[in-house]
């Protein structure tokens, strides 16, 4: 596929043409805050901050998504034509055949919801796109275990036009976990900023189709522009620190499950859940039924492992009763349980959780410390402590002394 060029001043025209065929979602600044929003003509796309507050996962995995609407009503057959007052006074007097058919009956309506408008997300970063790939494994029927029709319908209707990170932030660590500022995983077309505009590469058929739909705004890239894009990519990759090596992390997290240091690490966490809601790959949700009078809906809504209700059982017992138990889960899920199941990580290294956490809990530091073998002294002490005698997580997570 030919490599194209989009002049900076042609960006609105490009998005405008896309918007004729699909909803366009892009990072836009409102009241000083950059978030992915449905783009409307005339709005500036904000690429300078690098990362919007939240990843664009909200457009595929909705924060609140209605599964179905339901309702019931008492229907009174018209054929009865009878004496309503008498029926209400004595509904069981059914010896007369004419009255018998007039007994009101209940109808239940169930209306499934499933809409998935075509959309193009522009201006996400390679780490954001990778977050979708990681969620796909969970929602997309990996090994035939589970297939989520709502997620997949939206995912299929979505095209991801990512922008290379020319100026990574100090909180970025995508290269440490197999990605990069020009990473292609999950990306349908990649836009790299060079002098005067973007070098545009289609990476999938979806990406090619999107570029074809807005072809009038594009030209062929020159060799010089393509070379410049290559330099931007290499230079960006070199700017990113590698805070830890992946080897051994999974096993060490397993071995450290009952380690007291989790409590120390969690001290400054306020157990809010911000980190999970800004993350491109956290995918937990809960399901609610809400009934008002005789109609209602069943919807799912994002939930997170810091919420004490997340693991509370019907009996009232909570296997993760303490903040530190819940705290441990987030990191263990991303670097141990998920990798065990899907053989990849559940983190793309975007750093959003670091910079948006109210107390700036640093996932790099947690993984570095808790993903390393326990110091000999601490391990010895832990095995003597009565609270840490349980080998199974269920015991270790129970009420501690």
């Amino acid at each position: 596929m030919a490599i194209r060029f989009l002049k900076q001043d042609q960006l609105p025209a490009f998005l405008g043409q896309l918007a004729e065929k699909a909803r366009v979602v892009a990072p836009v600044k409102t009241d000083g805050v950059v978030q992915f929003q449905p783009w409307v003509s005339g709005q500036d796309v904000e690429l300078d901050v690098l990362l919007a507050k939240q990843s664009p996962k909200e457009y595929v995995f909705l924060q609140t998504e209605t599964y179905l609407k339901f309702g019931y009503e008492m229907v009174k057959p018209e054929a009865a034509g009878g004496d309503t007052a008498a029926e209400e006074a004595d509904p069981v007097s059914v010896d007369d055949a004419a009255v018998e058919v007039a007994i009101p009956y209940e109808t239940v309506t169930v209306e499934p919801q499933n809409e998935a408008p075509a959309q193009v997300i522009f201006g996400l970063r390679p780490c954001d796109a990778r977050g979708f790939v990681q969620m796909d494994q969970v929602f997309g029927g990996y090994g035939g275990f589970y297939y989520d029709p709502l997620y997949n319908a939206r995912r299929e209707a979505t095209t991801l036009l990512a922008v290379t990170c020319r100026e990574p932030r100090s909180t970025c660590f995508c290269t440490a976990i197999g990605g990069g500022p020009a990473g292609e995983e999950g990306v349908d077309a990649l836009f790299t900023q060079v002098d005067g505009g973007f070098v545009v590469e289609a990476l999938t058929e979806k990406g090619e189709a999107a570029l074809a739909a807005a072809g009038a705004a594009l030209t062929d890239a020159t060799d010089a522009q393509i070379a410049a894009a290559g330099e931007v990519k290499t230079a960006a990759g070199a700017k990113i620190d590698v805070p830890f090596a992946l080897e051994g992390i999974r096993d060490n997290l397993h071995d450290n499950i009952a380690d007291d240091r989790w409590h120390d690490q969690a001290m400054r966490c306020i157990s809010c859940g911000t980190c999970t809601y800004v993350c491109p790959s956290c995918y937990c949700f809960s399901i609610n039924d809400e009934l008002v009078e005789s109609t209602g809906e069943r919807y799912r809504v994002w939930d997170n492992c810091f919420n004490p209700l997340y693991t509370e059982e019907t009996s009232g017992h909570n296997p993760r009763a303490q903040k530190s138990n819940r705290f441990r889960n987030r990191f263990s899920h991303k670097f141990w349980y998920y990798p065990d199941k899907y053989d990849s990580l559940l983190c793309s290294g975007c750093g959003r959780c670091i910079m948006n956490c109210p107390t700036r809990i640093d996932i790099r530091e947690i993984v570095r410390v808790m993903g390393a073998p326990a110091p000999a002294v601490a391990a010895g002490a832990a095995s003597e402590a009565p609270a840490a005698t349980g080998d199974a997580p269920a015991v270790a997570e129970g009420k501690e002394a």
């Binding site: 100026e167 809601y277 919420n307 948006n356 109210p358 700036r360």
Partner: protein
Amino acid sequence: MSRQDHIREFAAQALADGRVDYFIGWKQGYNSSEVVPAFVKDPADVDQLIWTPLCHHNLVTFIKRNMPDPADAKIGLCVKGCDSRTLVALLQEELVDKEKLYVVGVPCDGIVDRRKLEKEFADELVDIAFPERGRVVVTTGKGETREFAQDDVLLDVCGRCRYPNALYADDVAGPLEAEPDREESGPDWSDIADFENLSDDEKQAALERVYATCIRCFACVHVCPVCVCWDKCVNRSREPELVAQKVGAKENLLFQMIHMFHVAGRCTSCGACDRACPVEIPLYLLHRKMNKEIYDMFGFEPGTKLDEKPVFQLFDLATDHFGD
């Protein structure tokens, strides 16, 4: 001796004496433009404690946040003037035991609003330095450096601060800051004047607009030092489900109204909720409005007098009014 040196000395002493099990202060975050709460257990580690105009966290939040501390854990902590008010509010309500606390008051000349600085640059901030009192020097990732006057980039709450010195402390980190004449002038409510001038319909619309972007992360609630239900918050309860879990302008507003009523007469305007909100919702609007109503009605400023009863504990069913 700097305030920072005082803090380190007090912390080291209290840890060495066994007066506290751990000491809560502030330390540098992931780079030198960030400060985070620090929990120090070993006197040898007190050198990580710092005091700069970036120490915005209200550490009172953490007194109750670290179960399973043994019930008799003794905690040392630093409080600025505003933080001390939330501590006084909790002491008034007998929600914390002062025998188990060791409190170091830190006289404060105003905390810098990192978000105001962030908005001055396209690039990320990597260093914020304070070469001397009143000067703030900011450096970005690309190496751009700019200087600001501290007074120009303060948190809004600091701009109207009436209590720069701790109202409750066992020790004080250096000389006190000058205090405004509180007899002379009452609290400054100018921050909510625009909001108050709106009609009811406009207020409703304004609130729905600001809360429409709420992502229900509950950081505002969890960071609030006087929000004490924590793991049992009614806004999250599903049995009974009193507040819809779904995200939407009306649902979000209801959740915030509940938060406002639960901290009415208790909120000290510390601003922790505003700073914690990842999507920068002006949470002060509702809380400050409620604070003003309570001040106008009862002359009550939460957390200012240790021997005072909180206003909502004064309600007398027999006489149907508050206090005498």
